[in-house]
């Protein structure tokens, strides 16, 4: 069976747990959690991931900075990145997509919506 490692970068433990709880129900998905952008970069350097989910508003390093740094890394140039944020403005979305995000989901999230998007990007049946 294929194994997909998903990195969740989110400062809120509640939100991290909710996303992880939803994605763990998908076959072959393993979750790694990080609490901010810097922690996310550290986890990215230690392992390889099939998909990255990040919040925008985080301490130390925000999600947009993280996306721009990830896209500069040849290893993660093509890895799908989802943004899950409270920022619902069109400008915020356009900025995130221009930096290289693949999907932009606003909070509050629905677990089936996130699961479907992850399944679609990872080709999980």
């Amino acid at each position: 069976m294929d194994e997909y490692k998903v990195l969740i970068v989110e400062d809120s433990p509640t939100m991290r747990q909710l996303i992880a709880f939803s994605l763990k129900r998908l076959k072959g998905v393993k979750i790694v959690e990080a609490s901010d952008g810097v922690d996310g970069l550290k986890k990215l350097s230690q392992d390889s991931f099939s998909l990255i989910i990040t919040d925008i508003n985080m301490p130390v390093m925000d999600g947009l900075k993280l996306v721009s740094l990830i896209r500069k890394d040849a290893v993660y140039k093509e890895v799908p990145i989802f943004i899950i944020t409270t920022e619902g403005g069109q400008e915020d979305k356009e900025r995130a997509m221009a930096l290289g995000a693949n999907a932009y989901i606003t909070k509050p999230i629905s677990s089936p919506q996130v699961m479907d998007m992850v399944k679609s990007y990872l080709n999980i049946k």
């Binding site: 809120s12 433990p13 509640t14 747990q17 909710l18 909070k107 509050p108 999230i109 089936p112």
Partner: protein, 278 residues
């Protein structure tokens, strides 16, 4: 030759011609009779064939009967299968609908489980307040809101934690003042009427006020002044989360406060004991 002989000769020749014509007529008649006989014979043959076909149709053979029975059985089977297919199609639609409902219910339960799990994951008072804020931002989708707690001595409600607002502008609320005071006194939740995204609010009159209570004893109020721009209305899950917060947040806040106080008292007593025993 005289005229009489010549007339006899002509008469003889005409008689001869007539005889020839008569002979041809007789031959033709013979042929007609023969053809007629053949046709009659053919009619008889066809009549016989017709009889046997009619006989076969009117009185089916054993094989014919079996085939007819099989056709009848297959027709019935086809009808039953068609009915079953219709039933299965209908069941399938029901299952699809049920699946959607179960998925939604599952999603709701996941949210409630995580909210509850997080609320009871710590005995640190500040952490409990932070978790309540996180639940309201991330799971409900509020942008400006606060947690008011009741001071048992002064009977006033003071803001203890907030998001998106400047706490220095928020006044202390007395019981029975504005929506917040009334909710604290009455113990019933308040939801503004009409569209939430255009609803106006002020410090004393938020769009939502949820009493934080242990049984019937109100210890505070969660107030929401503004929702995230993408959040246009409340879902049934939001109401479930508010209900959960009303009860579980109360016990978490209460127990964490007691724990903090007991820790402080324990530390003081320990200090005295250390002083006396040294």
């Amino acid at each position: 030759m005289d005229k009489k002989e010549e007339r006899e000769k002509n008469l003889f020749e005409r008689a001869e011609e007539f005889l020839q014509i008569f002979k041809k007529g007789a031959e033709f008649t013979q042929e007609l009779l023969k053809t007629n006989e053949q046709l009659r014979y053919r009619i008889l043959q066809l009549e016989e064939e017709n009889k046997s076909v009619k006989s076969a149709a009117g009185m089916p053979s054993e094989q014919y009967r079996e085939l007819a029975q099989q056709i009848e059985a297959l027709k019935k089977e086809k009808e039953e299968i068609a009915n079953r297919a219709r039933e299965i199609e209908s069941e399938n639609k029901d299952f699809a609908q049920r699946y959607v409902e179960v998925a939604e219910e599952n999603n709701n339960l996941a949210n409630l489980y995580i909210a509850s799990y997080q609320l009871h994951s710590t005995l640190d008072f500040k952490e409990v307040l932070q978790i309540i804020l996180e639940i309201i931002i991330n799971l409900i989708g509020a942008e400006e809101f606060g947690i008011f707690l009741l001071d048992e001595k002064t009977h006033e409600l003071k803001i203890m934690a907030s998001e998106g607002i400047d706490e220095s502008h928020v006044p202390t609320v007395t019981l029975d003042t504005g929506v917040i005071g009334k909710v604290a006194k009455g113990g019933e939740p308040y939801f503004t009427e009409g569209a939430l995204d255009t609803a106006k609010s002020d410090w004393l009159n938020p769009i939502v006020a949820i009493p934080i209570k242990i049984k019937e004893h109100v210890i505070g109020v969660i107030v929401v002044y503004k929702l995230l721009q993408q959040k246009k209305s409340f879902t049934p899950l939001d109401h479930e989360l508010f209900t959960l917060l009303a009860g579980h947040a109360a016990t978490s806040i209460f127990s964490s406060k007691l724990y903090s106080e007991s820790e402080r008292k324990l530390s003081t007593i320990q200090g005295f004991i250390d002083l006396l025993t040294k």
